[in-house]
Amino acid sequence: MTPPAHPATEKKIAGDHNPFAVAPFTSSPSMPAAALVESAPTFEAIFRDHAPYVWRALRRLGVRDVDLEDICQDVFLVVHRKLDTFHGGSAIRTWLYGICIRTASDYRRRPHRHRESPAGDDLPEVSAPADQEELFARSQARDRLDDALDTLDDAKREVFVLYEIEGLLMPDVAEAVGCPLQTAYSRLHAARKIVTDALLRGAKDSPSFAPQRRGSHG
């Protein structure tokens, strides 16, 4: 991959190709600039709008299922404590992911990092019954991705997760992980190669991998 030469075009280019990129909190065209600081999000609004993303990001950043609730709680308690220091200088999502990165990094360094799973309160979703085969395939794909992500070092993993799964723009990714933009691109490029190779290798080794293909790819 050849990173674009002109940094000024980075955001636009990245944004054009990131269909699920979420607009930053401060980007509302109808909101006057003076109102941005005043209308800083409340803790409740942040939780309601971002908790699922925080949960997902932490999971892909290496937090195990049994620890997710604890680590999510840690993230939001940090948010609660530091919300007064957030003045809209960056998107709220970028700020949140920065906290996720640091919290997950601390978590991964812990020698012992899981607690007892709460019993009896993890009720399964009771939505329309899904195709069991598809569920199994999804589970396998997710496990395989986690295995691939585990082969990455922390720096590459963070960039890969934020860009490829969470849909952040590259400048925001660089800000969240705290590295120069070009460094973020380099990490993404390297992480993509490692993850792709690992997933292809895993798919080849496992003949049961047969998720439903979309469209004509099947």
Partner: protein, 343 residues
């Protein structure tokens, strides 16, 4: 090599191998369930009624109709509701609160506070509804104030509750809690010694989750948090605190724990009795118009309507959801439930 194409996420690049694309797609779909979010919400210092706060207007409209539009990010121009988490750790104390002043600089104020302590202590002694500490977070405030004022004893806990009243009024709902139920857990001195600097409120809204509000003095989970309620005991602890307050206050009654439990019942009824599930969902909407689990509620409502064969209602409700929460993580799920793809 085309740099523009190279920058596209792997999920949307045509040359991405199928296993990679599938893995990324499933990872993106790996969002928490509503019960997981409910448990998490119960462990956080969230306002029971969401950004609208306890004073939020009740919902209008009849049950079954799409919910009124709601601005997840908060309406621009409206005053920030951040004080709905009064005396957030690190935040300045509420105006009018005794601890907001500097007693060593203002002896008169200090005397006034001392008189208040005595009066409040007398009220507490004669009032059967005095509740010593609605939650564990009350104790750090108590300890902090004890060290500041040089007082001691249970009487100090009363101005602690009074002082935490965000609006500076003399009566904190926390004082209305009936009974003298001691909150299980470590002694106040243990908590106050470690976390006293970062907390300072016994606000009613926090009764649902105060046991964990003092749990993160650093970036990671503290041992205090783990010790506060081992084995997942924090939820029941919070529920007990919430229920203690809920007997006398509508705001306290609207606890996160109850909100989650109500939705959980709705979820459990979804398959066996979708009409009951829908009724529970509507009950949730009436009780918690701006609840923390509003999005999960709407997802459940759409599922229930689909299960009842009311596809049109499901679609209109899904549309209302998308309008109200355009950036929701549940948007795809709501839309796919309301408009299942033809097989």
């Amino acid at each position: 090599m085309n740099p523009d194409r190279d920058l596209a996420p792997l999920l949307f690049r045509p040359d991405t191998p199928a296993p990679v694309r599938d893995a990324l797609a499933t990872a993106r779909a790996g969002l928490p369930t509503s019960s997981q979010l409910a448990r998490l919400a119960a462990r956080l210092p969230l306002s029971p009624n969401g950004p609208g706060g306890p004073g939020a207007p009740p919902p209008a409209g009849d049950p079954g109709a799409p919910p009124p539009p709601f601005n997840p990010g908060g309406a621009p121009g409206t005053p920030s509701t951040r004080p709905s988490v009064p005396n957030a750790p690190g935040a300045p104390a509420a105006p009018g609160a005794p601890q907001a002043t500097a007693p060593w600089l203002f002896p008169g104020v200090m005397c006034g506070v001392a008189v208040g302590i005595v009066i409040a202590g007398a009220i507490a002694a004669f009032s059967p509804s005095f509740h010593r500490a609605p939650s564990r977070l009350a104790t750090p405030a108590l300890t902090a104030q004890t060290s500041t004022l040089g007082s001691s004893g249970a009487g100090v806990s009363v101005p602690s509750g009074l002082g935490s009243s965000a609006d500076g009024q003399g009566a904190s709902p926390g004082l209305d809690h009936p009974g003298n139920e001691p909150v299980p857990g470590a002694p106040a001195a243990d908590i106050g010694s470690s976390n006293g600097a970062s907390v300072g409120s016994t606000a009613p809204l926090a009764t649902a989750s105060l046991p964990v509000a003092s749990a993160a003095p650093g970036g990671g989970r503290s041992s205090d948090a783990a010790d506060a309620a081992p084995g997942g005991g924090r939820g029941p602890d919070a529920a007990r605190a919430a229920s203690a307050g809920g007997r006398s206050s509508d705001a306290a009654a609207a606890s996160i724990e109850t909100e989650a439990a109500l939705l959980q019942r709705a979820r459990q009824a979804l398959v066996s009795d979708p009409s009951r599930s829908l009724a529970l969902v509507e009950q949730h909407r009436r009780l918690y118009p701006r609840g923390m689990l509003s999005q999960e509620r709407e997802l459940l409502a759409v599922k229930a309507l689909v299960a009842l064969g009311r596809a049109d209602s499901a679609r209109s409700r899904a549309d209302a959801f998308v309008t109200a929460y355009p950036g929701s993580a549940y948007r795809d799920r709501v839309e796919s439930v309301a408009r299942p793809a033809p097989r």
